[in-house]
Homo-oligomer: 790 residues x 2
């Protein structure tokens, strides 16, 4: 069965409607819907996206019967209006507008929005004859020749590929000669424009209106954007979606003072308040309102000058918002006192407006909470929350002194008491909205996995505090090395690295114990009983040894040694490759480092619990590649933990997990799960290992691949589902072969990416962890994932 | 049902036999076998490995009934001999020998052979009373006290943990006082030894012979080696195999001139010739023959002095070799003119002997070809073939001049004509043997995969020539960068890297074309129609740019530029990360490099074919991580290839493959196979990616893990089956989902490792590729894999 290629709208009735966006394009579908609602829409017809796709797939041949269908629809239109395209006596004029399935406003939240493939062409049907007739009929030759001039330019640029500058230059030259162009001036310009077309294309500007029409249709079909259009449903698959083409009776906003064009919004797009607002430009056509050619006026002017038109517009706005159950942006034209609606669309809005509007619409009973959640995009929240200022990050670090005594003093000054600088705040309205998101995530159920949590990457107490305020369900990643890099603690750690015996090393590390204990205790306190995942030391030791001569001298002074002897020690360690180990491989050579970290965590937890602050430490081991490694580290950790419990006579539960960030760990996940209570996927490192990318060239490789269309998205930003996603899924499944209820999470940069969050939900992960500033966004994205995949 | 713990042998009949090695240990099993053959074996009994394993698994408790069974066997032995352990009138003396399931000779070919867990204890049953009686019975008090002295030392060291040095010092002190020790001296030494035991263990040396016996059994059971014994069947799994313990009637080789001990081999273990040979030490016990205490004599001396004993030994040797169908090494003792056999085992042998012996045994109709193949270990061949000397490798490179004219001149001097230095040779006998191996591999069938080939990694024509002589089935990996690194060609390539436009780059690369064409043509010629896998350029460009000031100046002179301008260009490229790309990622930024390589390969193939030399190029793309990359590179390659074909009017088929060396490529193997005719697994890089290991720290990490038992083998030497093996298997399976007959191979260092070769056969790979010097070993290992997995 052949599909219908052309859909008619007009006379109070339309074929198709708002639900046919994929076929009619956003514009065509909404025009049909408005027509069916009885709103004043200039009649016309829409050629489907499918017809366009067929044209492209068939090497530029129109689908069979398209011409017949267009001819039929045009005849129907001419009958309805009582005018005929190209008729010398009573000419019909139309606009030709391309429209993709995805409106620009809807696309704004996505990463790869496609620009419309071709600019709209207005006033089609004008030629030398009909222009003269329009001048006569309208009694306004100036208007008629101006319309013709505009048409030639639009058509020549969009269809014939002539550079717009040529026309603009000619118009400017004419204006220079005379301030206000007369009808004759404009007629002269028409001649000039036609000459430009002849010179540039070696052909006359088409006088045949059928040629004009089909030229415009073909240009819309063949425009370059179409062939590369990205389908929104099959992320990244390059399929041809096609462009719908709407042919619509022209109405003119430039027929005098009682004419004009405007755009209005059913609510305030900046604040979201339920206030009708918009702009209106009298005596204008098309983009005049937005290009600064004319000064736009507030809608209140319209209300005063044409109260009936305003009333009609306001009624239509109410009707449309109620019908579409969303804030609408409406394009309108007034032709000699008569209102026409040319387009309606979900209105673009600020983040604050999106939240307010969603909340209000639920209160007004128009939408339910789930729909409200889907109305706000992660992009809306992204703009509201920027990364935490660096000065705040390092704050805790700079307020402590070197000695253990000083530490205790500093401990008394809890960061909470200090008054967190200009920090982003969550408004009450946003909190209500995000609360709804939390409910959706909390209630979600995938098999036996209940809930989908959002945790924060938080290395230092300040970050944890932000994270808590932003509504994190816990800390998903505390990178303990940030605590070591602190200049006040670094010397002790450098001494430990340079120690020659395990005993010497233990002694040096012991000095770090109170610092670490305090940091961990603050973390637990900041999270107030929510779980805190602490990653044991990860970076290679060479990142910690002195890099400059001055640093070496400082360390030498601290160790009471000569600088050159310190340097010699470092060189020796480097030669023996002892500085290159990272992740849990460190524990293979220097097990004492993890020992001290475990002890600090245990002591901090005991401290909290003894002060009736709940603490839920979850210790995680980085860079695991073999179950034997994890078994070794776990048994040592358990021994240290037990020792602290015995000494303090306090029982503290802790969970022990593995970071899955080498592909080998994914394959051996079943065996690793024997020694792990949970998994955390370190997808940044996992991605680099899967691609065999080094830190150095990852960014430049990815951008080169994106430029050459070899990758659909940056895999270090949005999880690479086909590769990294698969290995993650494999690891989770294998881990659960060993432990059916094994909790899995993801941490790091990916955790704040909405598409990755959606993947994680589908993959059965229990949580994602992201930087604190992305927590609000992630709370939303997580809820949307639940709803989307229900 | 309880298993039998003790097996008796003696009186011409034995329980068990050679096939019960796993239960009786190599030694016990062979003694039983020899007894059943009617050979003169001192009777005794063997306690099973299972009894030992049960003892260890039960925390040091003997299995139920062991004591009863030992008591019964001992009684039976005493009855047979007519003497009783500890009997004051007619004492029996026994040896206690531990024995693992794997003999030392058999284990020699493996990487992790376990040393026997305890030294043998001879003369058990001696105490103050029985020693005196032995002196009386033998009429040789010197012999008796010497035997007792030896027993105390052996027992104290093996069972009581006393340091042997204490006894040696005492013996040396005695010897210093007097050149030849008398019976009284030795009796005095016995007293001294007993004092040492008392001092060291705070106990008297046990006089109770039952205590002696059980002490020895328990020491053998509990010795440290057992608990760590590595089972040979489940590679790397640490299971307790247990040690068998053989208790055997003592015979004495130190009872005068007509006594002695010796070891003989049924053929020459160095050459493999069928000549009876061995050593014999008169008037000696135990290790006297090997420790230099006495001078060993050739067997011909025995033939002269004791012709009847020699005849009996020679007959026994013939009988044993025929029976075991392998070269035997036999331990014997002569006690007062009477021959006893104490042990037989497959004889250790040199590589040459292993091959000769295997060939001869087939000729003699004793074994079939498959058995012959299994008789030679890869280790035997490894020693015969060392890596090709560096001077030979670089030879081709240094005989060419810079200009294209010079190149043609050089081309006339084909490397084959030069007389290609001391290269290892394959002997005629080895060639026959390896020919059998080839047949086995050629005929092998796994599903639809016929044959299992051995190819060589060969970067330059010389290597290919060696590989061909060594019997390679083709080149499995030609790393083309070796051709670029040649100093004469490097300048052109450096010029290409610094080029600012694609055109400039093409011009510089064009100069490399004749060099590359010639190299490839030589490769094809050297392989004479066998397939040649050529890997397109792989290393990052920064490896090619000048590293020293002198190099920069040379390049500057060549480019007619200032050195600092050259350096500035390099710095700029480095800043823009353009030098960091490697593998096919190079082709994303500089597609011209691969273009020129493809052109050179095509021209070389045309050249060969036009000279009626068959050429089968197989082009392979390194570091693929996405099907889109491969599609892009393949379409470009096909275009270049077609151009050469058109220009030369010659049709040359080529195959196009992907290196699977990123884990992501393995996951996307189905999609990648759309654009690949074959896969080659680069397991070196794949291993590093799976473990997330950098080049820098891989070696040191691996050795640390091996030392801590975190890894069973070096994964960069023997493929890590659990991780890398699995991802490889996944990739092959997914690739074959797309193309059922997709050929897969492995290349690089792993390709020369016997265990990896076995894995590759099981994984359904069509070939492995290894360095030329390992080709003979790989031909053997490949055949063994076929037989082992039949």
């Amino acid at each position: 069965m052949l599909s219908k290629n052309v859909y008619f709208f007009g006379g109070g009735k339309a074929e198709g409607g708002a639900k046919m966006r994929e076929v009619l394009g956003e514009k065509g579908a909404n025009l049909a819907e408005m027509t069916n609602l009885g709103l004043p829409v200039p009649p016309g017809f829409t050629i489907t996206t499918e017809a366009c796709a067929a044209y492209l797939e068939n090497g530029g041949n129109y689908p069979k019967d398209l011409d017949t269908e267009v001819h039929y629809a045009l005849t129907r239109l001419e009958k309805l209006i009582g005018k005929k395209l190209g008729d010398p006596k009573n000419p019909l004029f139309v606009s030709v507008r391309p429209g993709t399935a995805l409106s620009m406003n809807r696309a704004a939240g996505r990463s790869q929005a496609e620009a419309p493939s071709m600019e709209s062409i207005l006033n089609l049907g004008l030629n030398d004859q009909s222009a003269a007739r329009l001048a006569e009929q309208s009694g306004d030759p100036r208007f008629a020749w101006d319309a013709y001039r505009r048409f030639i330019q639009m058509y020549a640029c969009a269809v014939l590929g002539v550079n717009a500058k040529r026309f603009e230059d000619a118009a400017n030259a004419a204006r220079k000669a005379q301030a206000d162009l007369t009808a004759d001036d404009l007629k002269g310009l028409v001649d000039g424009y036609k000459k430009i077309v002849r010179a540039e294309t070696k052909r006359e500007f088409p006088q045949n209106v059928q040629d004009q029409l089909w030229g415009a249709i073909e240009a819309a079909f063949a425009s370059r954007g179409n062939t590369l259009a990205v389908s929104p449903d099959t992320k990244g698959a390059k399929t041809c979606m096609g462009t719908a083409v709407t042919v619509q009776t022209m109405v003119f906003g430039n027929m005098g003072g009682d004419s004009g064009v405007g755009v209005c919004s059913s609510r305030d797009p900046l604040t979201g308040k339920n206030e009708f607002c918009g702009r209106y430009v009298p005596h204008a056509q098309g983009k005049d309102g937005t290009t600064g050619v004319r000064e736009p006026q507030n809608l209140s002017v319209l209300q005063k000058t044409m109260p009936l038109v305003y009333k009609k517009l306001s009624d239509a706005k109410n009707r449309l918002e109620k019908h579409f159950r969303d804030m609408q942006e409406i394009e309108f034209t007034i032709q000699q006192g008569k209102l026409f609606l040319l387009q309606t669309d979900s209105a673009g809005r600020s983040g604050a407006a999106a939240v307010k509007c969603a909340l209000d619409m639920v209160k007004e009973g128009r939408i339910d909470k789930e729909e409200a959640i889907m109305r706000v995009t992660p992009g809306h929240l992204d703009a509201l929350f920027q990364p935490i200022p660096e000065s705040a990050e390092t704050h805790a670090a700079t307020t402590v002194s070197l000695s253990a005594e000083g530490e205790q003093e500093a401990a008394a000054r809890h960061p909470e008491e200090e008054e967190e600088r200009a920090a982003p705040k969550i408004t009450k309205e946003l909190e209500t909205f995000l609360g709804w998101c939390d409910e959706v995530r909390d209630d979600s159920l995938r098999g036996e996995i209940k809930g989908f949590r959002i945790r924060a990457d938080a290395d230092i107490p300040d970050e944890a505090k932000y994270a808590f305020e932003f509504g994190a369900d816990g800390v998903g990643l505390c990178r303990t090395e940030r605590m070591f890099f602190d200049p006040k603690k670094l010397l002790h750690f450098q001494a430990a690295i340079l120690a020659e015996t395990a005993e010497e090393r233990k002694a040096a590390l012991k000095k770090l114990l109170p610092f670490q204990k305090r940091d961990f205790a603050w973390l637990f306190k900041a999270m107030n009983g929510k779980p805190v995942v602490i990653r044991l030391l990860d970076p290679p030791l060479h990142e910690f040894v002195p890099q400059t001569k001055a640093d070496t001298e400082t360390l030498a002074a601290y160790l009471d040694m000569k600088a050159k002897d310190v340097q010699a020690k470092i060189d020796l360690l480097r030669e023996r490759n002892l500085l290159d180990y990272r992740g849990c491989r460190l524990a293979v050579i220097y097990p004492e480092i993890y020992d001290i970290q475990i002890e600090a965590i245990a002591l901090a937890a005991v401290d909290c619990v003894q002060k009736t602050i709940p603490a839920h430490p979850e210790i995680i081991v980085p860079l695991v590649s073999d179950p034997a490694e994890l078994a070794l580290i776990r048994s040592r950790a358990e021994a240290v933990w037990q020792k602290v419990q015995n000494k303090t006579d306090t029982k503290i539960p802790f969970r022990f997990g593995a970071m899955i960030e080498t592909p080998r760990a994914a394959f051996l996940a079943k065996e690793i799960a024997e020694y792990a209570d949970f998994f955390s996927f370190g997808t940044d490192r996992l991605t680099r290992a899967m691609f065999a990318l080094s830190r150095n060239n990852a960014a430049s490789f990815v951008s080169a691949c994106l430029a050459k269309n070899l990758l659909d998205a940056d895999p270090l930003r949005t999880i690479d589902e086909r590769g990294v996603g698969e290995v993650l899924t494999l690891a989770a499944a294998r881990g659960r072969e060993e432990k059916g209820d094994l909790k899995c999470g993801l941490c790091g940069e990916h955790g704040g990416d909405p598409e990755t969050i959606d993947f994680c939900y589908r993959a059965g992960l229990s949580y994602v962890s992201c930087p604190p500033c992305r927590i609000p966004l992630a709370r939303l994205a997580g809820a949307q994932a639940v709803i989307r995949n229900a």
